[in-house]
């Protein structure tokens, strides 16, 4: 064990050799963790490494199959989230858990409202306590307004206020910064530092490695449900940390193979949709990966949607393999070999409650039919085939997609479209919100597809990804294509200049 031999305070909360399984999936195996008062401790690991399970064990949501939870050195059993809260453990989950119909004050004090005689709620005290919390956090939120309609950042503030309101000794934050802007993150970190100085233990989870280095002192890494290391961050580099998480080196992250582009597979000419994008022309050749960069709202996704036929275009034309596509007809686009992996996989890419098998099978509904009826056997073998090819991690192919981690869900979306054998693949933000390891796998897959002669159009806001993967970079700015930059000349500066409209094509 690499725990520092502590001469200082004892850990306020510790996990010892915790194991937890869900069916056949072993989410945690003999994991240990010690949180000391006055430290911010990072928990690192890819999606599916067991971070969420660990948090929920600390929070009393799950009870471990084996191992002990120690509070001030004493073994405790949390029978529910209420027990953990009473022990001074506050959790801020990735997705805010507010009651939209209730006021901010009620959200903060639900279950612990100040009382008057006869156990009645003291509404006045609740209100003023909430005001005090808001002042402490330096924000202006009306305690009496309902939580419905709050911005993600404000919802996060309410969650933090909730944690502050009962002077949590342990604060667990699961990806608190995912939806925040720079200044909001700074404000959040200010609060975290104050808490640390007051002696609270903070467990911090983030995909943004630089944040981990910015605010944490030690880090515990998990991989595939197993404990890898607990060590000080001093002297570590981001690459060291990624190596711990992924179990291999990072140079594999952008495994772009060199290819010689073939004939034109997708051709878009003077495409215009009133008020959305104007006069967009480009080509994607077989074997090429073309990156489509630009700021959010530049019209990239909208172009992709129009090309695929989801939205109608007002002028211009689109052809695949020399054959013109019908305006506004996704089915003809699919039939001519076009596939679109959408940006929002949960809302547009997957039917979350359906099984992995049937999700992959969705695009094959027309081909896996026998005498007008679904051939379930054919659907299953086709789906299994693709799930294995893409190394989707799942317990059973009949499990709902919602049980998978984000990265694996993305693989299912990819499998669903690759199963159609596309000639042209459009991927919109293919690696958003997925972990480094899966990201590398997705990149390798795209690279292999291109090498096999598929034309790939990759929309991405992740600049290193664009620079690392694309043979050519197209840049959009306010609905127009402003630059086309070959791989050799593409740098952060050239792309950003075009994306912000500082350079003309």
């Amino acid at each position: 064990m690499t725990h520092p031999s502590t001469t200082g305070p004892a850990p306020v909360l510790a996990l010892k050799d915790i194991s937890k399984s869900f069916g056949a999936v072993r989410a945690l195996r003999d994991v240990s963790l010690e949180l000391f008062p006055g430290e911010v401790h990072a928990l690192a690991g890819e999606n599916g490494a067991g971070k969420s399970t660990l948090i929920k064990t600390l929070a009393g949501v799950y009870r471990p199959d084996a191992g002990k939870v120690l509070l001030d050195g004493e073994p405790v059993v949390f029978h529910g989230p209420g027990d953990a809260r009473d022990a001074g453990i506050a959790v801020i989950y990735q997705e805010p858990t507010l009651f939209p119909d209730l006021s901010i004050a009620e959200n903060i004090f639900m279950g612990r409202q100040p009382r008057r005689a006869l156990g009645r709620i003291d509404h006045k005290a609740t209100h003023s306590a909430t005001l005090a919390l808001m002042q402490r956090l330096g924000v202006e939120l009306d305690p009496d307004r309902p939580a419905r309609g709050l911005s993600i950042a404000d919802q996060q503030i309410v969650e933090i206020a909730k944690a502050l309101s009962f002077d949590a000794r342990v604060l667990i934050m699961d990806e608190p910064t995912a939806a925040l802007t720079g200044s909001e993150v700074a404000r959040l970190f200010g609060v975290v530092r104050t808490l640390r100085e007051q002696g609270a233990a903070v467990l911090f989870i983030s995909h943004r490695l630089e944040e981990i280095f910015q605010i944490c002192r030690r880090v515990t890494t998990l991989r595939d449900g197993a404990w890898i290391a607990s060590e000080p961050l001093d002297g570590m580099t981001e690459d060291d940390l990624v190596r711990r998480m992924v179990g291999r080196d990072l140079d594999e992250l952008y495994p772009k193979q060199d290819v010689t582009p073939g004939e034109v597979a997708l051709s878009v000419r003077r495409l215009t949709r009133e008020g959305v994008f104007t006069d967009v022309s480009f080509e994607v050749r077989r074997g090429e990966i073309v990156g489509l960069a630009g700021l959010v709202g530049a019209g990239r996704t909208e172009v992709a949607r129009a090309v695929f036929g989801i939205d109608r275009w007002d002028a211009g034309e689109v052809s695949v393999g020399g054959k013109a596509l019908t305006n506004g007809a996704p089915s003809t686009a699919m039939a001519s070999g076009l596939a679109l992996v959408p940006e929002d996989r949960r809302a547009q890419g997957l039917v979350m409650d359906m099984s992995i098998e049937r999700n992959i099978g969705l695009t094959g509904l027309r081909t896996t039919v026998k005498a007008g009826l679904m051939d379930r056997g054919a659907e299953r073998s086709r789906s299994l085939d693709w799930a294995v090819k893409l190394q989707v991690k799942y317990a059973r192919i009949a499990d709902a997609v919602s049980t998978l981690s984000g990265g694996n869900q993305q693989k299912v979306v990819l499998a669903k479209w690759l199963a159609t054998g596309p000639k042209v693949l459009i991927v919109d933000e293919p690696t958003r919100g997925i972990d480094v390891g899966t990201k590398a796998e997705v990149h390798r897959l795209l690279s292999e597809l291109a090498a096999d002669g598929v034309a790939v159009l990759m929309i991405s806001s992740d600049l290193p990804e664009i620079l690392g993967m694309a043979d050519r970079v197209l840049v959009m700015h306010e609905g127009r294509l402003t630059a086309e930059i070959p791989r050799s000349e593409a740098t952060e500066e050239t792309v950003m200049a075009a994306a912000t409209g500082r350079a003309a094509a």
């Binding site: 989230p81 209420g82 858990t97 009651f99 279950g111 009382r115 009496d144 309609g149 404000d154």
Partner: protein, 346 residues
Amino acid sequence: MTVTTPQEAPVTDVPKSSGTRLVDRVFKMRELAILVVFVVMIVVTQLGNSEFLTEQGIKDLLLNATILVLVATGQSLVVITRNVDLSVGSTLGISAFAAGTFLQGGGNPVVAVLLAILMGIGFGLLNGLLVSLGQVPALVVTLGTLYIIRGIDSIWVGSRQITAADLPDGFVDFGSGGISVVPWLALIAIAVLVATAYYLKHFGSGRELYALGSNPEAARLAGIPVRKRILAAYTFCGALAGLAGALYLARFGNVDSGTGNGYELTVVSAVVIGGVVFTGGSGSVYGAALGALLLTSINSVLPALGVSSVWVLAINGILLLLAIAVDRIVALRVASALKKRNARHG
């Protein structure tokens, strides 16, 4: 007035708790709207038929509403938790007959009422257990118990009937008597209503009902005993259905195996018209009670205006759709108002 007056400055100054005010106002407006519709309807009827608001007329309006108000109050609690209890009609029927049989045998009226309540509590517990433990949608579970309870009722009651003649005189008098125009039964309903509303607003467990209807998963994570609360809501709902059964007996004196058949739909209509949102988390019992008052009054208004009572059902349906449409529009308005408020303080 070409010179700017000093009064103009504070216009942009938003009062501290404008969020609440806005929301409170909307909900009060929601309840006020039903009240206005009700008053307009009564006034129009009175103008058309001066015989309408006699002492007996007012008394009848209140008496008719009483039973529905009680059951709707209980139902509101369940709907607030994002569930529903369809078995209230059956529960009302069987408890009414049980109380009647007991009284027929010379039982004490107070004990008879308690018996009906206990019976309601029993069925409420059953519903609550099935819904909270079974993880099955409440709509289906209580549809099942609706038929089960009705079935037991039919087997037990058969073709028997209880009439006012079988009941002690005091009990029947209690059913129709009161203080001037306010019947005893209405006083009971009002007492239950006020107590329930107070409980929902001022007690932690009452607020938790709203919380778990608003976001069940968050409620679980907040350490709210979700199952216990749902069980309690169903039990309370059953108890009120039982009490309503006893009062039904007192009011009409006539009970058979078909009593309360289809009543659950009237109850749900009253609750929804009263602004208790079917997806849980918001609404008030006062609203539900007003909804009940409005629905039952239509039954008296139409005959008084000489309109055939065959119109009643259609009008109920239109009211229901109107109420839902209004709720939807108001919800959208409130949402955009709240968004704007966000934008202001960035």
